[in-house]
């Protein structure tokens, strides 16, 4: 029933459901959508106040082909399949995405020697279209690249995507197909007698099948079910977003030749028209430290100065941290336990956005094998996401839209050119934002170079009106939880 699908307070919908999916990141949302479209009654259970508020919002926003995965792993297979599925889905529902292609740049003769081996592994992973690029061609195609490159490997189908819209689209479609969304519901314990009984911070939820998509907490949920197969050690990745005026400096995703431990620091265009530099890689002992560090940012800047020297002439628009859900294993921790009706989609290290829809397919097949009744063909929905990318015209550029509603001609966030019409649509959307960060992910408001100098108060006013709160509460990050 309309209006009942999402809840953030009061008792959680108790079910019993066919399937409870824990974790409303991109993976959980993709699984919920996949199952709900095939007729399963689902509940998506999330500890945070919004979907996509963890690792799904803070990553490199690359739509990977999986060319550089370890051949033969689950990750290699699912990223490859997921690239195809999400690439197609992006076009259908309007997730900003572009196939920019990547250039893996060798900065030494040794690195250049390594490229043929990487190309051979890529071919094993289905990326048979890679191609060596000589020094002259490399500088012709990337004139702003720093001096000293020895050549590159081109991976033509690598691309960029909007991870915010991806998660929101999948979750919105899950809801359109009848899935319930229980936000602010932290799973405290799980029991299984006739069915799974989740004890959450918002009360009990019952389900026949359980899916673990809890990201950096997936090991804890797995342990609650009695397993001891992996431990998540979050790997902090710090990233720097440069001003849009730097966009012209970079034409492709510029990858380093990976080391044994990390894929290294890349420079990439974003779908919003910025340039991204990162990530660092640092193992953390805690799971909630999303702080940038002085050392991390300065090491990134020196990497940036080497890869694209002119990048450092530009202003930094934002810095952020993503926590990769890395485990001690060099593969996803994707297991279906058919006897219990439990699927674990944990340890999704750094390719979760790209693989999400393939992980969903894999989990669906596993649960069907465990007896979950699903219809053969997915139901259709009419989900269409607002465009927040620079690859198609934005609302402020659309005369017909402005003629229908002049608020789409009233720019509220000047740096990112977000109109009042978009803010209004976002605060009233199927999954409305709870805080300013949620507005940012849905519209790009406050994401730009001024970081709110001009419009923060105005944007907060729009959200406050929709929430029925004061602007001060919105600006202060105060929420229902604070008053309770």
């Amino acid at each position: 029933m309309a209006g009942l699908e999402i809840s953030r307070e009061g008792p959680a919908p108790s079910g019993p459901f066919d399937v409870a999916i824990v974790g409303a990141g991109v993976v959980g949302a993709a699984i919920a959508r996949d199952l709900a479209l095939r007729g399963a009654s689902c509940v998506l259970v999330e500890a945070a106040a919004d979907v996509g508020a963890g690792t799904s919002k803070a990553n490199t926003a690359i739509l990977h082909t999986g060319f550089d995965a370890k051949p033969g792993t689950i990750e290699a297979r699912l990223v490859r399949r997921g690239h195809e599925l999400l690439g197609r889905y992006a076009g259908e529902v309007g997730i900003p995405a572009a196939t920019t292609g990547a250039l893996m740049v060798a900065w030494s003769p040794e690195q250049r020697e390594a490229l043929p081996g990487i190309a051979a592994a890529a071919a094993e992973n289905g990326a048979t279209d890679t191609r060596p690029v000589g020094v002259d061609e490399l500088y012709e195609r990337e004139p702003a690249l720093g001096p000293g490159a020895h050549g590159a490997l081109e991976i033509p189908r690598e691309g960029i995507v909007c991870p915010f819209t991806a998660t929101l689209a999948l979750a919105t479609e899950a809801l359109a197909a009848g899935c319930r969304l229980a936000l602010c519901a932290r799973v405290l314990d799980v029991g299984q007698r006739e069915r799974f009984e989740l004890r959450t911070s918002r009360g009990p939820i019952g389900a026949e099948y359980l899916v673990n998509a809890a990201g950096v907490h997936s090991d804890e949920l797995d342990a609650l079910l009695g397993y001891d197969e992996f431990t998540i050690t979050p790997r902090r990745g710090e990233l720097i977003v440069f001003d849009k005026l730097a966009r012209g400096l970079v034409n492709h995703i510029l990858l380093p030749v990976p080391s044994a431990r990390t894929k290294g620091v890349l420079v990439s265009p974003t779908v919003y028209g910025n340039v991204l530099l990162g990530p660092t890689a640092e193992d953390l002992r805690t799971k909630d430290d999303r702080s940038t560090t002085g050392d991390g940012l300065s090491s990134l800047l020196s990497d940036g100065a080497r890869i694209v020297p002119r990048l450092t002439e530009h202003e930094v628009t934002a810095t952020y941290v993503g926590l990769r859900a890395a485990s001690e294993h060099r593969d996803y921790q994707l297991r279906v336990h058919p006897e219990r009706g439990y699927a674990c989609a944990g340890g999704i290290r750094s390719t979760g956005v790209s693989a999400s829809m393939a992980i969903a397919e894999h989990v669906r097949e596993g649960l069907a094998g465990a007896g979950l009744a699903l219809s053969a063909a997915p139901a259709g929905t009419e989900v269409r996401m607002p465009n927040i990318g620079e690859l198609a015209p934005r609302p402020y550029e659309l005369p017909e839209l402005i003629a229908r509603d002049p608020d789409f001609g009233r720019v509220a966030c000047f740096c990112e050119r977000v109109t009042r019409g978009e803010l209004e649509a976002a605060v009233r959307s199927a999954i409305p934002p709870r805080d300013l960060d949620g507005v940012r992910r849905r519209t790009r408001a406050l994401m730009g170079r001024c970081q709110g100098f001009f419009c923060a108060a105005e944007v907060a006013a729009a959200l406050a009106a929709a929430r029925g709160d004061s602007i001060a509460d919105v600006m202060a990050g105060r929420d229902d939880g604070d008053r309770a």
């Binding site: 002085g294 934002a318 810095t319 001024c450 600006m475 990050g477």
Partner: protein, 415 residues
């Protein structure tokens, strides 16, 4: 939107843009249209409630909002077409501007364009302050909008980053909004405001200034909980509890349109370069106000706009001939920038007859020289240089500039 072939479009309805528009009408120039992207004209003074606006340009002291309203009224009265909620989003060719407003998408091609898009404070992210990303971090402008335009209480205890005039203005705004001030933080050895302001703030708001101190990190989960400060002399760090961090000053021009148009930029101001007549490097494109010199007080920006109007009117009448070829004026450390930063042979005087200098350091009684290709065009002594505040030198030396001799440099000499 119809723009006459002899019309002028001014981008930005703050003090500089409105003053230029009013003066253009007074000088009998053709139709003048001001495009303002906010709902109300007036620019930053709209939410700066303290008094002291208008002393140099209007010969009276007004509050920011009254000053903003005054300019809007004068513009209306002068017959300026003032279009709000309309944003210039780009260029189509040399002088054709793309616009978006509630009336739709449009483009206009005036005879001349004046860029008066102002400046903003550099936010936390661009200053690369590490730590978490809690709520409660803002610039002075956001603080003033929340307190004065929306009547909100913003927090209980603030740390203010910066110790310039505007930083002390943030202190006053915080007091008005019900917050106490733990202190002001500056990496410089002294505060940069006038002594009277400083003493007044210390007495009235009990605001302490931590000099030679860096804001090393911001911590907090959802809300700011504390900041980490580093003493630059000893290297020691300590934590200060607060729920609000206000980043003040460190101004940066809102110069995207100038950049996209291809105007020559000054690497230090990061705004378009302009000559004493406020011509940019692009024919038919003028600029005025704090997009050129971030940041001067509103009345100085307005006087710049008024000054630009004269050259602009002359340009429309076909006087002055072809667009001049300029040489750049560069500042040498410890000077950060000098403005105007383009000159050509035969230039008249800049606004208020002076070149502005900004320094990165405190310097007492510096000797200053203006040099071009081994020739000294001017030398003199200033009382002092204070970071974030303009000193000035006279402008007669522009007559000596050789258009073929490369850039002019302004430098200090040891005493």
């Amino acid at each position: 939107m119809a723009i006459a072939p002899d019309g002028v479009v001014i981008v930005g309805g703050g003090p500089a843009g409105l003053a230029a528009a009013i003066e253009l009408r007074r000088l009998g120039a053709g139709p003048v249209t001001v495009l303002e992207r906010e709902r109300e004209p007036g620019g930053i003074p709209r939410h700066s409630k303290h008094t002291g606006f208008g002393v140099r340009d209007l010969r009276r002291a007004l509050s920011g909002p009254r000053y903003a309203r005054r300019y809007a009224e004068l513009a209306e009265r002068a017959g300026v077409e003032l279009v709000t909620e309309t944003m210039v989003t780009g260029w189509e060719g040399e002088r054709r501007l793309q616009l978006t407003g509630p009336g739709g998408r449009d483009s206009v091609e005036p005879a001349a364009v004046l860029l008066a898009s102002g400046c903003r404070e550099r936010p936390r992210s661009a200053r690369l302050v590490p730590g978490s990303r809690p709520a409660g971090v803002m610039t002075t402008s956001t603080l003033q909008q929340l307190v004065y335009l929306h009547g909100q209480r913003v927090g209980r205890r603030a740390v203010v980053v910066g110790a310039e005039h505007v930083s002390f203005s943030a202190v006053a705004t915080l007091a008005h909004g019900g917050a106490s001030v733990a202190g002001l933080v500056t990496e410089l050895p002294r505060h940069q405001t006038l002594g009277a302001f400083r003493v007044g703030a210390a007495l009235r708001y009990r605001a302490h200034v931590w000099t030679r101190t860096r804001l090393a990190a911001i911590h907090g989960d959802r809300r700011v909980e504390e900041v980490e400060l580093t003493d630059l002399d000893t290297g020691s760090t300590r934590s200060v509890a607060c729920d609000l961090v206000v980043f003040t000053a460190d101004w940066i021009p809102d110069s995207e349109l100038a950049v996209v148009a291809g105007c020559e930029l000054d690497p230090a101001t990061r705004g378009p370069r302009a000559d004493p007549a406020l011509r940019t490097s692009l024919p038919g494109v003028f600029a005025a106000g704090n997009v050129l010199h971030p940041a001067e007080p509103a009345d100085v920006a307005a006087l710049g706009g008024r000054h630009a109007a004269a050259a602009l009117a002359g340009h429309l009448r076909g006087e002055g001939g072809a667009w001049p070829s300029h040489v750049a004026v560069l500042a040498r450390p410890p000077l950060r920038w000098v403005w105007p930063n383009l000159v050509s042979a035969g230039d008249g005087a800049p606004p208020r007859g002076r070149f502005l200098l900004r320094s990165g350091e405190f310097v007492r009684a510096p000797r200053v020289e203006v040099n071009q290709g081994g020739r000294t065009l001017w030398r003199g002594r200033l009382r002092r240089l204070v970071p974030g505040r303009s000193a000035h030198i006279p402008a007669e030396w522009t007559r000596e500039v050789d258009p073929e001799a490369g850039p002019v440099s302004v430098e200090t000499r040891p005493r």
